[in-house]
């Protein structure tokens, strides 16, 4: 069994790496730029007024001046600088390079552009034109009065370029190898030493932020899974025992309804109708979800005690839909067991119904429930994301949600890593538990 577990974990490594590479590439081609975010926060300047030197130093501090991955595949007329260019100017460079015959020509435009921007007076003149170019507006050229000779020359060249068609050289890919000096290598070699970088947003260690958030997600998820299983198992078993009675049919109908309720709807409805006294005093059952109370220096336990009421709505919501699903499965698998011959024989032996149901049928019927745990875990993490957003719980889903919008890529990577890891672990655990519950299963064959 341990050999199986180890082999499974080993197989999980390439899976995790692929997931991470995918997420990493996704985050890096996003339009947002963390460097600009940070600069505009501290320097409060307009984006175009950030000098290239300032940008370059900040990017170097944040490790964002390197190429993204070990290699890149670019059209053969795109010079390599494009891969490391600031995201702000990258579309501009790409537009020029698309229309250049080869790298040398494209590099000529980029170099001329950088040269002009180095002189503050020239750069200021150029900025008004840049805004148009960044919107991809090259078509009708307005009369730019008062340009210096160098600027005018450059602008003329660009407008001449923009009237050209895209070069056919685009269709010839060329491979650029960057070696280990890239952002992904930095991240993954840090991650192997369990150093996941700093949150680009708040400058805290990303792992601290994640662990803080993870506690809440674990509490909410464990509580809802536990409640769901505790309610669903007896319900499913008794429905199978008393099948086709009024009790079975009525509860089946209710469970069908509960199963189809979208998590975010149930959550929103509870928040809207039962957390305010807007619709009568008796409806104010749950504490309002708006503000998360905390005092400085609170431990997790104190925070928990202070805000435990606020966890009620998410736990109720998550466990409701989960419970409906599990108890339907429980009923189906118990029904299948109850129709088997050994049950008939146990009956003939004179065992009480309760004993048959819980001693014999339950053990056999519970196998599917165990494998289901693997699917339940990722599903509740997804559900928890929504509930954390609705109820303002500072959990993992909320963290992910906020960090995607604030371009905090180190955090995003870590959350995806943690999420994938939990999912892989869930699948593995369910396999092991399945083998433990059903010794007939031979894991080495799977």
């Amino acid at each position: 069994m341990w050999a199986f577990a180890l082999r499974r974990l080993a197989w999980a490594i390439p899976t995790l790496v692929i997931a991470l590479v995918l997420t990493f590439l996704l985050t890096r081609i996003t339009p947002g730029d963390p460097v600009i975010d940070r600069l505009s926060k501290s320097e409060a300047e307009s984006v175009l007024e950030i000098t290239d030197d300032l940008y370059a130093t900040t990017a170097r501090q944040m490790g964002l001046d390197k190429p993204i991955f070990y290699f890149s595949v670019l059209p053969c007329n795109h010079p390599s600088e494009i891969a490391t260019a600031p995201p702000l100017f990258r579309p501009l460079y790409q537009f020029w390079a698309d229309r250049s015959k080869n790298c040398t020509e494209a590099r000529g435009y980029i170099e001329a552009f950088k040269q002009l921007r180095r002189d503050p007076a020239q750069a200021a003149q150029l900025n008004s034109i840049l805004a148009r170019w960044m919107q991809n507006e090259y078509s009708n050229r307005p009369d730019f009065g008062g340009l210096s000779a160098q600027n005018k020359d450059f602008v003329d060249r660009i407008y001449a370029l923009s009237s050209r068609n895209k070069s056919l050289a685009l269709y010839v890919p060329s491979f650029r190898w960057w070696g280990a000096n890239n952002q992904f290598h930095d991240w993954i070699s840090g991650a192997l030493r369990l150093d996941f970088g700093k949150s680009l947003d708040s400058n805290e260690a990303a792992s601290t932020r994640l662990l803080d958030a993870l506690r809440w997600t674990i509490v909410v998820n464990l509580a809802s899974i536990l409640i769901a299983y505790l309610l669903a198992i007896p319900l499913g078993m008794y429905r199978a025992q008393y099948r086709n009675t009024l009790f079975d049919r009525a509860s089946g109908m209710v469970l069908n309804l509960l199963y189809a309720i979208p998590v975010f709807w149930l959550g929103s409805m509870l928040v809207v109708f039962f957390s305010t006294s807007e619709y009568g005093a008796w409806t104010n059952i749950f504490p309002s979800v708006g503000i998360w109370e905390s005092a400085p220096g609170d431990t997790f336990g104190q925070m928990m005690a202070r805000n435990s009421g606020r966890l009620l709505i998410p736990i109720i919501t998550l466990s409701t839909s989960l419970m409906a699903y599990i108890s339907q499965q429980m009923r189906a698998s118990a029904l299948e067991e109850l129709s088997k011959e050994y049950v008939l024989q146990l009956n003939a032996k004179g065992l009480t119904q309760g004993r048959i149901l819980w001693r014999h049928v339950f053990r056999n019927a519970s196998f599917p429930l165990i494998t289901m745990l693997a699917g339940v875990l990722p599903a509740t993490i997804g559900g928890a994301l929504v509930m954390e957003v609705i109820c303002n719980i500072p959990g993992m889903g909320r963290l992910m949600y906020d960090s995607v919008f604030s371009h905090d890529w180190n955090l995003v990577m870590l959350v995806v890593l943690a999420g994938s890891f939990i999912t892989v672990l869930g699948i593995l655990l369910s396999d092991l538990a399945y083998a433990w519950a059903n010794p007939r299963i031979n894991l080495s064959e799977r």
Partner: protein, 373 residues
Amino acid sequence: MIRTAKAILILYVLVGLCAPFIANDKPVLVIDKDGTRSWPIFQNGADHDLFLDTESFQKIIHTPIPFSPDQVTSLKNRYLPPTSQVQLGKRRVRHWLGTDRLSRDLAAIMVHGCRKSLYISALAMMLALLIGSILGGAAGFLGNDARMPWYLLGLNLLCFGYALYLALVLASYGAALALLAIGLVSSLLLRKRPRPGTKHARIWLDTFVMRMIEVFNSIPLLLLLVAASAILVRPTLTGLAVLIGVMSWTRFARFSRAEVMRIKEQEYVVAAGISGENSRDILGTYILPEALPPLLVVLIFGISSSILLESTLSFLGIGLPIDEMTWGSALSQVRGNIRAWWLALFPGLAIFVLIMCLNQLADHVQDSLRSRQ
């Protein structure tokens, strides 16, 4: 029960198909004072402001809901409760389901939201079905013993690689798809007559597909979608649909692989193989007719879960443009104003009823397939 569910589903599809004729700010038919007729609903340029002055026309016939989902009437009409009346020009009209935070009509939003939801989930599931059943079916049928001439494998890999380049670097998706199609078709044509002595490559298709499924399943879907949809520079309905489709093919692949493997082991199929029928005939006569119908159940469940996914995403405000109102994004507005209960109730109810009917239908199809066997 199942009849009601089917009727409701048909109603949803009809509402989705006819959305512009149910909720539109442009009138269907306008008869001028001099008797000339015009059909503004079919005219792109027609502006609803032109028809506010009812007295200058003989007759104006509006759609049942005389609002468009993106129509902002007036700041004082924000968050109106259901059935409140407003003055539009010389006309008094009712917002039957109330308005949202920008005074848009909720009923109109919901009618058009139905169209968007159905479009996204149908497209996503078609894509997922296509990818999943082909990969899964091939993995189940060919196992780890698929053989292909080296030159064809090379050709296909080349086409695939270049298609990736076209799609990801040059963003020309049509060309990429065309190239993939060319690769597939040419390899189907060329493999008919392999010259004797051609070196064949063994392809570990089953292992490959299973690993792919494992990779996709261990990425938390919602988390990845949150990350992925943030990168869509110009988010569109189709873009979101493709994203959901590409991410959810595994359910079809797993199912069709298991199904094909089960059928392949049946005695009559094995017997057909021994008696010398070629594998294409076996696939066409025995395996496909048996393996395809159960996929319908997976498809219906898939549609219901992608509707759920889409509305969850738009509830979170991810994946779709901000001005593209759907059920989810209408529902999310209640977080800004907890008193606007109608924003929480009606869109959620629409999703809930649709999902329940789909689940009922899937159960029904499953039962009838089982009883047929």
